[in-house]
Amino acid sequence: MQHEDFSPHDSLKVIQSMLEKTREDFSRDDFYFLVWGWVTFIGCTGQFVLKNLLNSPKHPLVWWIVLPAVAFTIYHSIKEEKKSRVKTYISESMKYLWIGMGISYFVLSMILSKTGWGNTVFPFYILLYGLGTFVSGCFIRFRPLVIGGICAWALAIGSVFLDYDYQMLAAAAAILISYIVPAYMLRSKIKSVTA
């Protein structure tokens, strides 16, 4: 295998296959996109329903849904880490991107809870949703993620002009467009390629 000769064309094919491999890995990891996408979507729409339709003063409590998602993510990532996978340049880039995003979400939550901008939190989160998905889409050259990221930024700017209640719906829309839909599209694309 080591002594086999291959042409520059074959070398490019190797690079292409690395890209495909990362897409495939990412598609396997779309689990995270889907879990967090759905959890956030349920959080946003749930809070909207509790606050506006059921008039419940305890509407922010819906966000406790995040805790089991965190536990599940940690458990799943530890389990996956044990499985040996080929590390590619793109998969390593994705790893640092999402570690960075995770820390940023945490820091942002601290900032928003301390500054008391309780009524204007969503535009900031939408901004970060866009950041993560746009860069991911560029890394793996998957257009729906790139478009999702751009749409999230448009919603991040537009939502500043909305009332808090409608900011929730803007966040739900951003999650749907930038996380959930692209994740399902990537999954079906990989399935059709591998079939």
Binding site: M1, Q2, H3, E4, D5, F6, S7, P8, D10, S11, V14, I15, Y89, E92, S93, K95, Y96, L97, I99, G100, M101, I103, S104, V107, L108, M110, I111, K114, T115, W117, T120, P123, F124, L127, G130, L131, F134, V135, C138, F139, G149, W153, A156, I157, V160
Partner: protein, 199 residues
Amino acid sequence: MNEEKDNPLSGEESLKLINEMIGKAKQSYVSKGIASIVWGVLIVVCSLLTWAQVQYKFELGFDVWLLVFIAVIPQIFFSIKEKKQKTFVGHDEITMRYVWTTFGICIFILSFYSYKVYGNNTASLFMMMYGVPTFITGGIFKFKPMILGGLICWGLSVGSLYTPLATDMLFMAACGLFAWLIPGIILWNKYKKNQACNV
């Protein structure tokens, strides 16, 4: 030329070629560290001037942060010039372009928020945002000073929640120093050393 084109490469040679491509890209973009130094100096200077204005109660008569936009012009000029001279763009460079373009867009949106809704008290948010591309760049290039720089930005962002505006500006200057200026100087020194070795 044709002969060279048609010659099949061994597996080892192909890997060498890929490594060389990565090396070239690193040398042209990251190793120089010029952009990092420019932005580091700019953030440190703007933050310290803002700090001095708050601390000593005087006004310069213009918004010092507008200097950031002035610095964008030579940045665009040099990147266009560099682009014209190049025959090859590495994957690293493309990756970095995505990360830093995204950072630029997010800083623009944050500035819009700051202007539109939240007033001047947004230093913590900017410091949080500084951490993102710095950490990712450091991670991708396995360059520890930038990983550390990103973590420092996030730490100072949280710290600034408990300090007055003047101190926030000192924190901001520290972000510029640790995230960009120091890593940029390290990269520049490495680049110069490499050049000296190649002569």
